[in-house]
């Protein structure tokens, strides 16, 4: 019992990490888009659980809200409207695997680079950084807000401008002549 209590967070990490990876593999390997969508949802929720374990409550809840409650519902919406039986026999994305492979390798490279940065400069990133502002303990929400609106305001605003551009683009594309 003591073993479980002491190592609980670690065990939960491996459980949810394995679930996230397994579900991500299922997303691309299952033939039925409905099952793929639910595998993707499982993966998102498992990642949210990982955020919870790291005390990044804000990120975790936003992950559930935006990806679980918003984006996946829209995916399902589209999938429900197409004819699944016809789609299952087609190999739509069969030609794209070289590009996908390249992107995956680049992504892995990027993530490993960040992990290496963090791993070898522990002074910058400590668990307390997620819940404190300038050494003072506040909540995770306040810590994230402080980073976004004080330290990284310009990148944040640029990102929101990109989203606005994408939104206007979608409106223009969808508009009838």
């Amino acid at each position: 019992m003591d073993f479980l209590l002491v190592n609980g967070p670690g065990l939960l990490f491996y459980l949810f990490a394995a679930l996230a990876v397994l579900a991500a593999i299922l997303v691309v390997s299952l033939r039925n888009p409905m099952y793929s969508a639910f595998a993707l949802l499982t993966s998102f929720l498992a990642v949210a659980a990982l955020f919870f374990l790291r005390h990044a409550e804000f990120l975790a809840v936003v992950q559930i809200f935006v990806y679980g409650g918003g984006i996946m519902v829209l995916f399902l919406f589209v999938i429900m409207l197409v004819n699944l039986h016809r789609l299952q026999e087609m190999r739509i994305y069969g030609m794209q695997w070289p590009a996908a492979l390249l992107l995956a390798v680049m992504m892995i490279g990027l993530v490993s680079w960040v992990v290496a940065q963090v791993q070898f400069s522990p002074a910058n990133i400590s668990p307390e950084a997620l819940v404190s502002v300038e050494g003072e303990a506040v909540g995770n929400v306040q810590a994230v807000a402080w980073q976004l609106y004080q330290k990284y305001l310009l990148p944040f605003e640029i990102a929101s401008l990109f989203l606005l551009v994408a939104m206007i683009g979608a409106v223009v594309l969808a508009r009838k002549e």
């Binding site: 409550e57 809840v61 809200f65 679980g68 409650g69 918003g70 519902v73 399902l76 929400v141």
Partner: protein, 356 residues
Amino acid sequence: MVDFFGETLFAYAVVPLAKIIVAIAVVLGIIAYTTFAERKILGFLQVRTGPNRVGPWGLFQPIADVAKLLGKEDVIPNRAVTWAYVLAPCLVVGPALIILSVIPFGPPSGEGPVSSWFITDVNVGLLLVVAIASIGVYGLLLGGWASNNKFSMLGGLRSAAQMISYEVPQGFSLVVPLLMAGTLSLVGIVEAQLAQGRWFIFGFFPFGLLAFFIYFVAGVAESNRNPFDLPEAESELVAGFHTEYSGMRFALFFLGEYANMIVISAVAVTMFLGGWLRPFPNVEWLSFLDLAFLPAGLAGLLWFLVKLLAFLFVYIWFRGTFPRYRFDQLMDLGWKWLIPTALLSVAATGLWKILI
């Protein structure tokens, strides 16, 4: 070493578990008698008697209903997707009951988590409520899709479109009391209302009132109730997403709808109507309303329940009063009126807070 079998086990496992069981049992009891009250009140509004055969004034009607639903044959359509068909009703009820875990039904009473009148208090409470509520749409969508029936499918699609649209003004309207309180913890929000001496519905007049109005309209739409019950519009869609469901699985959908009503009302009470506080908590001569002769916390619980039941009555009242909206009217109202108004009140509250 952790003393697992002593106080730790008691405080972190036994007490929360007991609270969860009691909360769910009480809410299920309220749901059962809300269905009864709905039929009685609708009967009164339409000048007829309502159920009056089972027990005195028909008081045992819910028990008879549940017994009937439990005994019915559980039909799964021939070409339905079985796993999704079975899972869907659970996905409607589950999220609604999960949200109960962060609702503060009564005040904390100072001696740690054991004696307070809520299950837990998390520092992202409000966000958690919104996030879990947004998961609830999967049940309707999945149930509609899995039934292999065009009416179910259309009902499911309608409900998804409706719930996504109304989540936006609902979220924005909750930002207004959030700005007034300055914390995301639901207990903290009620305590902020006590500290500021007013319910947030009266804060920054008229923006608190405006936000409350938007929240409640969006909440009625979120729980698929009249006048926004388009996903189950019987004149067009038979019964919408639950057309094919029967017996206990249908009852679960029904239960989910009422649980959602209760959750939305409970959040409205917490955010806008002062949670467990009495009316006008800053007016001295009204302090007899604190009901100090009751054991600690019980008065707060009573006030919470009174406000909650008032909301449920308004839901039923709506059902007896308003005709159903058309779908394009529903989308118009959500996107062209509620969202801009909600954004405006958020901006105005923010400005007010900066300037004053």
